[in-house]
Symmetry: C2
C-alpha cells in the first residue's frame, strides 16, 4: 500500500516480450497495473519476417493485448502514444495530453531501425519492425515480380528481379532465405515472360561474415546454406548510398528496385526523455537491478536497456527481454515487502536463426547445430513460444502446407500500388 | 485462328467471379487469354465482411490470381490499372500507357460504392469493396473501443461506443450483426472502464424493410434476428448528412464516431468508356449474348452489366457473375467455330444472407429458410465455394474456434491510428 492507502500503481510502457512478461508476472499481486502500447497487439517479432515474405498472415503472429490480459483483473490496457515521461511528477504523458501517474515505471519500448544518419534511404529500403513494415515489404517484393511480367526491356526487367537485403544479422538472413524460396519455388510456373528462378537475391554485409553474433563456424555454415538456397552473399561491402536506382557501394551500383534494410538498430527515442546516460545506439545504461541512476522507481528492460556490467553481454533477443520483464516485476514486489533483490542475471538458453527450408543454425551452450537438426529445433521452439493456442494451430497448418506444397499462404498485396 | 494465323486474343478485364470463371472456362481452348486486374488477388467478396469484422485474416479470403491460373498455359496474368478501352483500335490502355490488343474483350470490372453525389461522406463513412476497405473498417471499429477506454467524459465515450451501418442490404446486415457479436461476446471482460455490451449498433435503412431484395417474410425474420443480437434497426430513415459528429437524418443527429456506408452501388467507371447506353447506376445495357450494341467482340458481364430483357431480373450476386463468365467464354468459343449461341439465361439457385451466430435467411426457389437451418446452409455453401483448398481448411478452423470461444482471430489494428 502507498501512504495514501491506495494500491501502488505500476505503469508498463510497451507490450513487446519485456512489457508483456512484466505485466503477466504481476498477475494477482497487490498492485494496479497499466500497460500502454502504441498498437492494440503483442507482436511475436521472431516470426514477423514470415509476414513480410507472405508465409503467414498478420493475425497469426499478433494477439490483442487486452485479450491476453483479459482475465488479469489488476491490469488495464491503454492504446496510446507516449509523448514523454515526467519523472519529477511521476507521470507519463500520452498523445492528447492524457496523463497516467505511476509509483513504479517499467519502460520497455524497445528498438527501432537506424539508417546511420541517412534517413533518406528509408523510402527506398524499408526495414522490418512492425506489421505495417511487413505489409510494405511484402507489397514491394510481390509487386516487383508483377512489374517484371509487364516489362519488355530486359535490363529494366532485371532491375525488378534483383532483391537486395542489407545487413546479415538474423533478420537479414531470414529475409534473404525466404526471398530465395519465393523465387525458386513458390512462384515457379506462374509467369509467362520470364522464369522467377532467375531472380537475383543479394545479401550485403559490412563485416566479414553473416550472423556476426554467432560463432564463426556457424556463420560459415549459414553462408553455405544461404548460397545453396540461391542467395548471393557479399561480405565486407559498405553501403554508401541507396536511391531509386539501387544500392551504391563505393563506386559500384547494384541496380535493384527492391531493397530491404536490416542493418541498424537504435533504441526507442523515449530513452532520451529519461535524461540518463545512454550508449552509442541510444540504449539506456541500467544498474544491477535494471533501474536508472537516481530513480529506483524507473526500470528499463528489453532492447531499450544496456547492461555494461553484465558478462557475457546480454543479447537483444526475445528470451532476454522476457527474463528482464519477469525480473522487473519480481523486484517491484520484493521492494513492496521491503526486501532487496539480487542483481539481474541473464540465463542463456542459446540462440537460433533460420535460413530457409531445412536450414538453420543454433547455439545451445557449447553445442552448435546447423542444417536440418537446427531447423527442426527452430520450428519447435517458435511454435512452442508463439502466444495463443489458436495461433499455434494456424501456424502449424500453414507451415505444414507450405512445406509440402512450396506455396505461401499470404501472397496478397494491399495498400497503394507502387509505380515503376 | 485469326487471319494473321495467330491464335485469337481474348482479354479479360477484372478477375472477380465473372472474370475468373470466364478465364477458367477458356482453359485448353485455342485462344490466348490475358487477365488484367488492379490487384494481384481474386477476392472472395461474400466473406469480405468477416475481414472487416476481425473474424478472418485477409489471406483467408483472397488467393493470388496467377496461382489460381498457374497451370492454365494459355493464360497470362497482368497486374495493372485499365485507363481506357480503345474500341476503334481494339486495344486496352493500362497505366504507364502499356497497351494490350484484343480480338475479343470481356469487361468484368464490377461495381464500386456510390455516395449518391455526396463523396464528402466517404471519409466519415467508409464502405466495403476491397481488402483495404476491410482493414480500414476493422481499424475504426477496434480503435473506437480503445478510445472509449481512454475517454472519461461519458457523452464522448458514448459517441465512441455508437456504431452506425447505413444500408440494410446483405452487406449492411452482415456488418451490423458482426459488430453486435463483437460488442456482446468477443470483447466481454476486456475493458475496465465500461462494459462493451452497452455499445449501440444502429442499422439505418431508407426503405421500409431490411434485405429489400428478399421476400417480405424473410425481411421480417431478419429484422427480428438482428434485434435479438442487439442491433437497433431504423427503417424508413433517409440519411441527409454525415460528418465527424455523426449521421444526420432530417433534423435529427445520431452522434457516432464510427459509421460504415453500405447503401449504394455504382458500376465501375470503365463502363463509361464503352460509349454505349447505361442505366441510372452506370451499368452497361447488354444484349442477349451479353455483347454491346455494334461491338459483338465486346462482352460485359457481372455487376457492370444490366440485362433489361431478362425476366426475372438477374441479381448482382456471385453466382450470376460466375454464370455470365462461363457463358461469355462459351460464346466466344462457339463463335470461333462459326456457331451461334442461345441467349444468356440466369439459373437461379437461391439467395443467402447471414446475420450472425445461428442466424441467417435463405431463399431456394419456393423454399424460404431462416434461423439455424439457413445459417448452416450459408456456412456449408461459403466454405464449399471458397477458392482454394487451403483457405477452406483455415476458414473452417477459424470458424469452429470462433463458434466455441466467441473470440475473433484477426483483431489486430494496422495502419495509421485515428485520433479522437
Amino acid at each position: 500500500m502507498t501512504p495514501s492507502g491506495k494500491l501502488p500503481r505500476v505503469v508498463i510502457l510497451g507490450c513487446g516480450f519485456g512489457g508483456l512478461f512484466a505485466a503477466k508476472s504481476l498477475d494477482g499481486a497487490p498492485v494496479e497495473v497499466t500497460v500502454v502500447d502504441r498498437t492494440n497487439h503483442h507482436l511475436f517479432q521472431p516470426l514477423l519476417y514470415q509476414v513480410a515474405t507472405a508465409g503467414l498472415s498478420a493475425p497469426a503472429v499478433a494477439a490483442p493485448i487486452r485479450n491476453i490480459l483479459a482475465s488479469q483483473s489488476n491490469a488495464t490496457v491503454i492504446c496510446g502514444d507516449v509523448q514523454r515521461i515526467d519523472m519529477a511528477r511521476r507521470a507519463v504523458v500520452l498523445d492528447g495530453d492524457d496523463e497516467i501517474a505511476y509509483d513504479q515505471l517499467i519502460v520497455a519500448t524497445g528498438a527501432t531501425n537506424s539508417y546511420f544518419g541517412h534517413n533518406e534511404w528509408e523510402q527506398h529500403a524499408p526495414s522490418l519492425k512492425t506489421l505495417d513494415d511487413a505489409y510494405e515489404i511484402r507489397r514491394r517484393v510481390l509487386l516487383a515480380f508483377e512489374h517484371a511480367e509487364r516489362e519488355t526491356d530486359l535490363a529494366k526487367r532485371a532491375a525488378w528481379l534483383t532483391f537486395v537485403v542489407i545487413g546479415a544479422g538474423a533478420t537479414g538472413v531470414e529475409l534473404a532465405g525466404a526471398f530465395a524460396e519465393i523465387a525458386r519455388h513458390t512462384l515457379r510456373g506462374e509467369f509467362r515472360r520470364f522464369d522467377p528462378r532467375n531472380a537475383r537475391i543479394v545479401l550485403v554485409e559490412g563485416s566479414d561474415r553473416v550472423l556476426p553474433t554467432y560463432p564463426a563456424s556457424l556463420s560459415e555454415q549459414a553462408r553455405l546454406q544461404l548460397e545453396s538456397l540461391g542467395v548471393t552473399v557479399w561480405l565486407g561491402r559498405q553501403v554508401t548510398g541507396i536511391d531509386e536506382r539501387g544500392v551504391q557501394m563505393g563506386g559500384d551500383t547494384l541496380v535493384a528496385h527492391t531493397v530491404v534494410w536490416a542493418a541498424g538498430v537504435a533504441a526507442s527515442p523515449l530513452g532520451a526523455s529519461l535524461e540518463v546516460p545512454r550508449d552509442r545506439a541510444g540504449r539506456v545504461i541500467v544498474g544491477e537491478d535494471l533501474s536508472i541512476p537516481g530513480h529506483p522507481e524507473v526500470t528499463v528492460i528489453g532492447d531499450l536497456a544496456t547492461l555494461p556490467w553484465h558478462q557475457p553481454p546480454v543479447p537483444g533477443i526475445a528470451p532476454a527481454a522476457k527474463q528482464m520483464g519477469s525480473y522487473a516485476a519480481h523486484k517491484i514486489l520484493q521492494q513492496l515487502k521491503g526486501q532487496s533483490v539480487a542483481p539481474f542475471c541473464y540465463k542463456d538458453y542459446g540462440m537460433l536463426a533460420t535460413i530457409g527450408r531445412n536450414s538453420a543454425v543454433a547455439v545451445l551452450g557449447k553445442v552448435k547445430l546447423s542444417g536440418y537438426p537446427a531447423w527442426l529445433l527452430w520450428l519447435i521452439a517458435h511454435i512452442w513460444y508463439l502466444i495463443g493456442f489458436r495461433n499455434r494451430i494456424i501456424v502449424m497448418i500453414d507451415w505444414a502446407w507450405a512445406y509440402w506444397t512450396f506455396e505461401r499462404s499470404s501472397r496478397i498485396v494491399t495498400g497503394e500500388r507502387r509505380r515503376p
